[in-house]
Point group: C2
Chain length 193, copies 2
């Protein structure tokens, strides 16, 4: 696993998750991550803008998928139906390896403000992208933002349940769990006023 092997990015991600689980996030330096991946510190920063980002890479792709899904929904779909379509589209691409990383990822992030901060930011990015897609469908701004917030909350709630090892129902796919979460949120929102 050295210098000129393929997939340097993925090697860095795996090395980082392993080291964070072994010795903690704070006690792991970027140089150590790079070394385990057979690379140098400089190369790490060519692939990721900072140390936190190695755990959140690919979130931009999720933004794109959510927006695509919402845009591709039938023209007469309601805002929340478009959000459901966005969830279907975005959750379909997740892999088993991503599911496997889930528990370790959540444990590390939960333990460090630095990482929870990045998570909150990424989440805001997802909501903004989804809201923009809804606005392009003609949904008014405030409605679009609220619907997008529900969608992103369902996206995360579904992810949490999908990667929860204590409740590993193999029939529960990520798309199905996200849909169910959205239904719950919709019901709660309807009961709000």
């Amino acid at each position: 696993m050295a210098r000129w092997d393929p997939n340097p990015r993925l090697r860095l991600v795996r090395a980082a998750i392993d080291l964070f689980a072994e010795q903690g996030y704070d006690d792991t330096t970027v140089a150590q991550i790079a070394a385990r991946a057979g690379l140098s510190k400089a190369t790490f920063f060519r692939h990721f803008p900072d140390k936190r980002e190695v755990l959140f890479a690919g979130q931009e792709a999720h933004s794109t998928l959510l927006a695509e899904g919402a845009t591709a929904a039938p023209p007469d779909a309601t805002p929340l139906e478009a959000v459901a379509a966005a969830l279907d589209h975005a959750t379909a691409s997740f892999t088993d390896e991503q599911r496997g990383f889930g528990p370790r990822l959540r444990a590390v992030v939960a333990a460090h403000d630095e990482l929870r901060e990045r998570e909150a930011f990424k989440r805001a990015g997802l909501a903004a992208a989804l809201a923009a897609a809804l606005r392009d469908r003609g949904v008014p701004d405030t409605t679009a933002r609220l619907a997008a917030d529900l969608g992103v909350e369902a996206f995360h709630l579904g992810y949490t349940r999908w990667t929860d090892v204590d409740a590993d129902d193999d029939a529960a796919t990520y798309p199905a769990l996200a849909r169910r979460a959205l239904d719950e949120l919709r019901a709660a929102a309807a009961a709000l006023h």
Copy 2:
């Protein structure tokens, strides 16, 4: 304005906002901020855990105020009425100096991901505190989170309008603007399903 003068914290905040406006956030070092406040770098980090935080200090106080306001609402108040009470309580304490900082603050934050990230995190903290207060009133978890999200969104929307120099209607107080924003959000949420 040197070493043993009073209010070192506030002096640091003012120095930071001034320098960020003058030379930009990236080109301002912590040492420079401390020097302008007549203090040393070490003392800056005694008052703020990191460079970003000098712009967001006091957000914990807002969390407390929001929670207090929600808790103090009449027992028979609906979740959204409790949120309105929380906004009344939290927005009442803002000063004219805070209003004056608003435009510069928003401009600096908007220009740097690093700061927008911290803002998103603080926002999540406010929402969590408000949601916890609502849960303590007996509001179900999901409902509490949604209502809290609306409240925090109204809190920020109201702040933006209150500190918008282009629309400085002196009769528009922060509490009134926050209330109005909450009403708009409530209407949009009701129209969602």
